[in-house]
């Protein structure tokens, strides 16, 4: 007999309007590995099989935004096309397209504190931090900004209680089981681990960023 209850790898999404010119396909309300994988897979499927009338697709941590022209397209029709594609969504859509090595100088002002909070020496923390290949979970917060994860449960810390007014492009940040990289100067409440020369934003390039959601990344100690 066919087992109809075989576990589906991806959470069942909801389709909600975001204003009157966007629909959001939400695979979860908290960040989980499976919800994020589903987002990346679905965004990729939408690139292969675009929905007529949709002008832009933006994958987020746990949702995919579809923007349409409200004067031309109708959301009910787009939602129908979304459902057609959701039923065709499979694990193979989540295969990583690109791998990146990101040499990083771990000399940030919060490195010692982060290591101490996790009960490690700075060297042991860096080694643990770099031990796992991470995935680009999402982009879009700021030009070229990337969230990478997920770290092991032993490497989860909340954000700092205070915000640093400005950190430069190339700052490597750490919080919430993730490592993030800035590509423009930003204020941040995340812990500053160090810096990388890897520049993920160039307004004169097309496309202007290099890392895409789903890419795998390996942090290494810059030599």
């Amino acid at each position: 007999m066919t087992d109809l209850s075989a576990p589906n790898a991806f959470p069942v999404p909801t389709i909600v309007p975001l204003g009157d010119a966007c629909l959001l396909v939400r695979f979860g309300t908290t960040l989980t590995d499976q919800a994020n994988r589903a987002v990346i897979a679905f965004a990729r499927l939408l690139e292969r099989e675009p929905v007529p009338g949709v002008d832009e697709v933006m994958p987020n941590l746990v949702s995919v935004l579809l923007r349409f022209d409200p004067l031309r397209a109708h959301p009910a029709q787009i939602a129908g096309e979304i459902r057609l594609r959701l039923f065709a969504l499979g694990d193979s859509d989540a295969d990583a397209p690109a791998h990146w090595t990101l040499p990083t100088v771990f000399d940030g002002p919060d490195l010692e504190e982060v290591a101490t909070l996790l009960g490690l020496s700075a060297a042991a923390f860096v080694s643990a931090h770099n031990s796992r290949t991470l995935r680009v979970l999402a982009t879009g917060f700021a030009p070229g900004f990337v969230y990478c994860g997920m770290h092991d449960d032993a490497l989860v810390l909340p954000r700092r209680t205070s915000v640093r007014p400005m950190v430069p492009a190339g700052t490597v940040l750490f919080a919430a089981g993730q490592t993030a990289i800035t590509a423009t100067p930003l204020p941040t409440g995340w812990h500053v681990l160090g810096r990388t020369d890897f520049a993920n934003f160039d307004a004169s390039a097309s496309p202007p960023t290099r890392l895409s959601p789903g890419d795998t990344v390996q942090f290494t100690v810059a030599t």
Binding site: R67, L71, F201
Partner: protein, 300 residues
């Protein structure tokens, strides 16, 4: 000889805009574009053709046409425009010759005005648009707001469209309409009712990224929703900051954010909101997304 504008006085946050830089959300860049889209379009119809606009704020602008000649369309809010000291209608059309002065000062209403031309504003497109993104620091004039002393070239268009005469319908004064937002269900029924029933006012902190609202009855004073997963933001989203301040995110919004969003102002009402001056009282009304669409379609 090129037609060239010489900016002799620029108010803060005078920016060059076009319809917007679309398709760049995943790269971390929101579309920007005019705060008042209808006024931008009207100024374009009046000018008859060129791409790009100078978006002015309540401080106004003074400029001199260095060389050449051009026709301008003026629209958005109610400003006072003087062509060589002679007051010209707003919205309206003015033709400048070399050496002519145009001076625009605030009038009784509105925050944003548009100057469009019968020629293209000669700025290099960045990622497909000349819109200035004040957040990303790209587009427009060297990625920044216009300053006193800047010179902007106008590039003739092949066949300028004939300018049209237009009638302006005064904006609706009713409540600002919204569709419930991504996190509406996380707010208590008391807060949701307060949002529908209590008056709010446009706050003093007001720019292309967002408009802070005053909440005199403290509807959101107790709204503490923490640690939301970061999610997509759209123009018109009303987010509630950690201290309970409601903020409507506008054209230079960040593409994603983690503050809870109770509602999204409908597209048909965003221009009107952008033009409300600090201190203006407003109330909110909930409608369906379908209704929002029919309102938008009936505007065109």
């Amino acid at each position: 000889m090129n037609t060239r504008l010489f900016i002799t006085r620029a108010g803060p946050l005078t920016t060059i805009q076009d319809a917007g830089r679309f398709g760049m959300l995943r790269h971390g860049i929101s579309a920007s574009g005019p705060m008042d889209r209808a006024a931008y379009a009207l100024a374009g119809q009046l000018a008859g053709g060129g791409s790009g606009a100078i978006e002015i704020t309540t401080a106004g602008i003074d400029l001199v046409l260095d060389a050449g000649n051009c026709r301008l369309g003026l629209a958005g809010g109610v400003f006072t425009a003087r062509h060589n000291d002679r007051v010209v209608p707003w919205p309206g059309v003015v033709t400048l010759s070399a050496g002519d002065r145009l001076s625009i000062t605030p009038g009784p209403a509105g925050n944003y005005g548009y100057l469009r031309f019968d020629a293209d504003l000669d700025c290099p497109p960045v990622l497909g648009s000349v819109a200035t993104s004040t957040r990303a620091g790209i587009g427009g004039y060297r990625g920044r707001a216009l300053l006193t002393g800047d010179r902007v070239d106008l590039r003739p268009v092949a066949e300028p469209a004939a300018p049209v005469t237009v009638t302006v319908t005064p904006p609706d004064n009713g409540p600002l309409r919204f569709v419930w937002g991504l996190h509406a269900d996380l707010f208590s029924p008391t807060i949701r009712q307060g949002f529908l029933q209590q008056p709010f006012a446009i706050g003093r902190r007001h720019d292309r990224m967002g408009i802070r609202l005053d909440d005199p009855h403290g509807v959101f004073a107790e709204a503490s929703i923490l640690s939301l997963v970061s999610d997509a933001i759209v123009p018109g989203d009303i987010q509630i900051l950690g201290d309970g301040t409601p903020t409507v995110l506008m054209r230079d919004h960040q593409p994603t954010g983690g503050y809870p969003r109770i509602a999204t102002v409908i597209s048909a009402d965003l221009d009107r909101l952008a033009q409300m001056r600090p201190g203006t009282m407003l109330s909110f009304a909930a409608i369906t997304a379908d209704h929002a669409l029919s309102l938008l379609r009936s505007q065109i």
